[in-house]
Symmetry: C2
Amino acid sequence: MLDLAILGLLGDGPLHGYEIRRRLRAQMGLAANVSFGSLYPALARLEAAADVEVVEPDDEAAPPPATGSLSGERAAMRSRRLVPGRGRRSKKVYRITDKGAAHFAALLNTTSNGDDQRSFGLRWSFARHLGPDARLALLERRRAQLVQQLGDAEGTDGLDDYARSVVEHAVEGISRDIAWLDDLIAAERAQDRRATPLEEAHGTAVPSESSPAQPGAAR
Amino acid sequence: MLDLAILGLLGDGPLHGYEIRRRLRAQMGLAANVSFGSLYPALARLEAAADVEVVEPDDEAAPPPATGSLSGERAAMRSRRLVPGRGRRSKKVYRITDKGAAHFAALLNTTSNGDDQRSFGLRWSFARHLGPDARLALLERRRAQLVQQLGDAEGTDGLDDYARSVVEHAVEGISRDIAWLDDLIAAERAQDRRATPLEEAHGTAVPSESSPAQPGAAR
DNA sequence: GTCATCATGTAAGCCGTTACATGATTGC
DNA sequence: GCAATCATGTAACGGCTTACATGATGAC
């Protein structure tokens, strides 16, 4: 799960560990309170597996700016600017490799993982890397989970006011999450219909980079 | 944290492991998906520490029904009914000891613990065992945490629609949680004022079992 | 008599945290 | 030059999950 997050962030441009952590806090589902004690070993592991590589300071022009993502490029520039001599210490900027990109796609499409709140938020953050079918599948799997959680809640008999308030608040939160998912599902369906106006939808399973995403209706 | 939950549930009457797990799913903040692999070792640990003890089948009349809590007593009866000969196997019903009750109080009042969502939900479920001051402190500590999380979120610049929808939804959720806490805090304050109408509040710090709880305004 | 469910337990291992140790950069 | 912050790393440890193994009970 950490690997997924790291590779996904690195997909927008090279970053160093400290910055990766900052973005995880700020952007991802939050509560993603990754500590250095897990982040750096994870980076080392990914480097050993050749999923990422260290960007050497005189290493420019290599990454084609085709994929866009201004923020990532800006961050890379900033870090390059901040390293004058690089006496074999200080910042270590990582870049994702082709192998890493493939690994990322595989992780993202893995259906077997237990999607708890964080896992779902993380995956949905990277939804633009998924095909329309995979997006819908992800949303509906999450929805089913939440519905089941609602079912588990049962009645609040025998609970005092404090305990009951916790359960009721939790139930409200889950209900709102389900409503949110329903909106997202509707938006996805609408976009799919727009993309293929008079076609019978058939085996378009999980194409990795089909429509340009950016539905504009995701709220 | 698991210990806290177990001891708290056992405070309402004897239970066996399977039932404890069922209640954790159903009642506690949910997502408390404790598995047997952690529950049973925890019970064994608590038993070794004399925080809980096994109820022997011909062991009745011992616990005075003073503390109330119908559901707990009913569960105990049921389990007793279900054990005819008890050939040294099947259900193991646990009861909390005085030592365990003290341990529970200590855990509940511990302020140092990192209160994430679950931890807070769990503690607030047991808020009736806390004094008015401790209750308010718990609420306000949690509120401060959420406010800080909101601050960490920052802007959503550079994010695509998918990632932005995740962040925005998370922010909404946190805002709602804060509003909920504000309601609870107001209710607690109102109740405190009702309890001590024309007194200057001074050193009433953390009395463990003062007012009979059940404020009736916690929603 | 056999199947589903209730019920208890053990073992291996992952994933991540806390605490510690250290070096580089920047502002005052 | 000193402090605060940025930045990277290691080591010990802990909690919880998964998978496995087993026994009792009740329904049909």
